[in-house]
């Protein structure tokens, strides 16, 4: 099982993801440079957090044209696991690998704080180690994480169960007060129809060790580590 962590100019969660994969999970890790044109045999590609190209113009707008993105698109088409976290989610939306877009937080402020997420899909390679409707405690850190999609897209997402994480209160209720950024339907993370491309705004790599305040994020890394091979085979 090999994870590849993509590095764009301006990416900063690359080392945090790398740390968790390498030091906490003990899985194989390689970094993928934005100019790379080969995925070095990775089983799961992570697009980490940051401000790729400064997020100038729009978040993820320039990053999605990086040479590595073409390969990631092909990899996703073949069923490879692609996991966008924060800025990575924004890049995946810009690249059209996931529907919708992430716009400015309703508060117009950057928010770095802990949130609660209810897990709505546990049959995915990313979440298999989570319990049914388990509530995960995970931090966010973004200024533009408000999920938007047009009404048709949104209802399609809901019908097909593509919403994976929703902001909720500590008891798992999806209420407006738990929504930190104004996302439609409290959406914190979605998956593509095929189930191999996940995008999420919260940072699982920041909650994978007790000293950082929790280990719920590690469940996602563990899920991937166990499932990646099966997915590729199927």
């Amino acid at each position: 099982m090999k994870f590849g962590v993509v590095v764009f100019p301006g990416t900063w969660s690359d080392r945090d993801c790398g740390w968790v994969i390498d030091q906490v999970l003990g899985a194989e890790l390689t970094y993928l440079w934005h100019k790379d044109t080969d995925l070095k045999g990775c089983d799961c590609v992570i697009l980490p957090g940051g401000f790729a190209y400064g997020d100038y113009l729009r978040t993820g707008a320039i990053a999605r044209f990086a040479p590595v993105m073409e390969k990631i698109g092909e990899f996703a088409d073949r069923g490879g696991l692609v996991w966008g976290i924060c800025n990575g989610f924004q890049v995946l939306c810009e690249a059209g690998l996931l529907p919708g877009a992430l716009i400015r937080n309703a508060s117009l402020e950057f928010r770095c704080e802990w949130t609660n997420l209810v897990v709505e899909r546990t049959d995915l390679p990313f979440t298999s180690k989570c319990g049914e409707r388990e509530v995960l405690h995970a931090p966010i850190a973004h200024g533009e994480g408000s999920y938007f999609a047009d009404p048709a897209t949104l209802s399609r997402l809901e019908q097909r169960g593509q919403v994976v994480f929703r902001y909720c209160d500590a008891t798992g209720r999806v209420v407006p007060g738990a929504n930190p950024n104004g996302s439609l339907h409290n959406i914190a993370g979605i998956v593509n129809a095929r189930g191999n491309v996940l995008g999420m705004m919260p940072h699982p790599e920041r909650c994978s060790e007790t000293e950082l305040g929790g280990t719920d994020g590690l469940k996602l890394f563990r899920s991937v580590a166990e499932n990646a091979l099966q997915v590729l085979v199927s």
């Binding site: 100019p9 301006g10 900063w12 969660s13 080392r15 945090d16 740390w19 968790v20 030091q23 957090g49 940051g50 401000f51 190209y53 400064g54 997020d55 100038y56 402020e109 950057f110 928010r111 770095c112 704080e113 931090p139 850190a141 200024g143 940072h203 790599e205 920041r206 060790e209 000293e211 950082l212 305040g213």
Partner: protein
Amino acid sequence: MDERRLREVALTPDEYKVIVERLRRAPNEVELGMLGVLWSEHCSYKSSKPLLRRLPSSGPGVLQGPGENAGAITIGEGWAAVFKIESHNHPSAIEPYQGAATGVGGIIRDVIAMGARPIALLDSLRFGPLPESSRHFEGVVAGIGGYGNCIGIPTVGGEIYFDECYTNNPLVNAMCVGLVRTDELMRARAEGTGNSLMLVGADTGRDGIHGASFASVELDDNSSQRRPAVQVGNPFLEKCLLEACMDLSHTDAVVAIQDLGAAGLTSAVAECAGRVEGAGAVIDVAQVPRRERGMTPYEVMLSESQERMLVVVQRGREREVESIFNAWDLTSAVIGQVTDDGLLTVVDGSDQVGRLPITLLTDGAPVRRLVGIAPDPPFGLEIDALPPLADAGGTLLRLLASPNLSSRRGVFRRYDHMVGDATIVPPGGDAAMLRVKGTKLGLAMTTDCNARYCHLDPHLGAQLAVAEAARNIVATGARPLAVTDCLNFANPDRPEVYWELEETIAGLAYACRTMELPVVSGNVSLYNESFPTRGEGGPAQSARPDGVGQSAIYPTPVVGMIGLIDDYSKRLGAGLRAEGDFVLMIGSTHNDLGGTEYLKVEHGHVAGRPPALDLTREQAVNRVVLAAAQSGYLHSAHDCAEGGMLVALAECCLLGGIGVRCPAVRPEAPLRLDAAFFGESQSRFIVSVTSRAMPEMQSLARRHNVELSLLGLAGGDTLEFEGQLKLTLAELRQAWDVLVP
């Protein structure tokens, strides 16, 4: 020499005379501009240099004291912490967002220049009262977040105070902490005649010409004409620069890295060469990549464009370095060479446009011998004339809601304080702590200064700032290690202000020496004084009640401190952790009401003597807390600071989400009840322990001759002093967590 021209470059006629004498000729325009910026207060420290020498700067573990871009101290396991604080007050007064953002960018580059990876930022801020000063406040907070969040360095601490004296002069001090292997620590020395000087990063534009000299004059109504001096930061570019510089440290082709800050290329080259006996440099301005057409050599040498670095490269290995920068899509250019003639020679292609001795630039500015005269002491405080405390609960709620004491969550949640996966004590309590990944080491950090104390007694106030910073470090279980300081003062040409500066430095020196804390880096910002402006500057305010300057700031010596814990699993937070724990006060309480927030909020006075400080007692109390933390007796620790015991206790409850029940406080005369609750006696901590640890705590306190008293029992969801006050955590939170409006 035309006086107007001299004023433009901020030189005095006397200084000009010195220049002509030293050069034995008149400087040309380019040379005059270069001397003007380097001789400005901001770069030359001509008014403060003799005083700064009094600060202790050496000690065990100090790898680099003042004189380099940042200080460095060993922390064990082969690691060194590199850190420095710097002001960006004047730019932030004019353009709060960009001023603060570029301040953050600048201090990060100082740490990078030492070869260290920046791991944390802190920001120490002062504003006028809200809502009048909300333009400054909002802009500065957004600017710090805008830069720090984008570049991916967590902002983990800092402080914010509001006071009338900062209405026209907000203070924005940014501190950066980095880590480097001790054997990879770099120094910005232009060694090796014939080696190349490469400029890398942003293209050079007409940014901030005369910015450094601009920071050395009072703001006046004409400042608007200098406004193009404002620079726009590019954190994305700096992130690429940071990573490229980290890659550089893996090659031995690089001799040194120097950031470009105030006074741009002139200062960077002069400083770098100035650190090597006899070294000089030739710079060809024609080789400098530009953003704008038609720039003159003068403009290129003085430009303060952000996000640039000067790299000294082994001759013949420029290609290697260039390819590292290319990988990050950064422009680099060879712009000159190191020489051995002790001169900075500026050429434009084949024309020589200036040539000055390096020592004239870096050390030539005549030291200004100013006089200090003590002002009339601020009016005293008749404690007995204060009415007795009527409503402890109401007072507590008002204090918790006071902008100087309320929760800063609304600010620090706008800063990414987690990136890096190292923040193990987040902002919100006392000091922040970051782990050194791959070790058990925890690095604690804080900035502190109660400027109201400093105003009432600068010598004592400076000591109090050091003591409070140390206490904040100790509250996390870490031992204080070293200091960086940012001295923010008004116009030192006023004898009262210079006196404040002298007293402050003496106080800092005394406290740091006594507590064995080396001052390894720092910064001085003078002339923080402005005449009330009409229009956007906000309404005219007279600030200091003592009449020192119409609009002079309080003396504000911000102390940045780092501390170390060898095993971070023993670190402590401020919040209560378990129901049933004993809540104890370590240290003793006196009638310390002078200069308190209580006195200001409840009685409208800024008066009296600040709380007394006995550094021997202070250290004894710190030792008790550290020993108890080491032995694992403590569940939490929080120091008593502004707002006194009751505010501190309320914070312990709110941060832990657990209440406390206490018997009534019946102080023995002459101690007053208001002083017991809200007085700001120093050298005190509130800690929580299990009942089992009580005997050990008592013997520990006895051994160090420190007072230990039981305040109450943790539990429930109210803060209660029997018969005196009872408030639910929800009520407390509602008052406290309003954040600054």
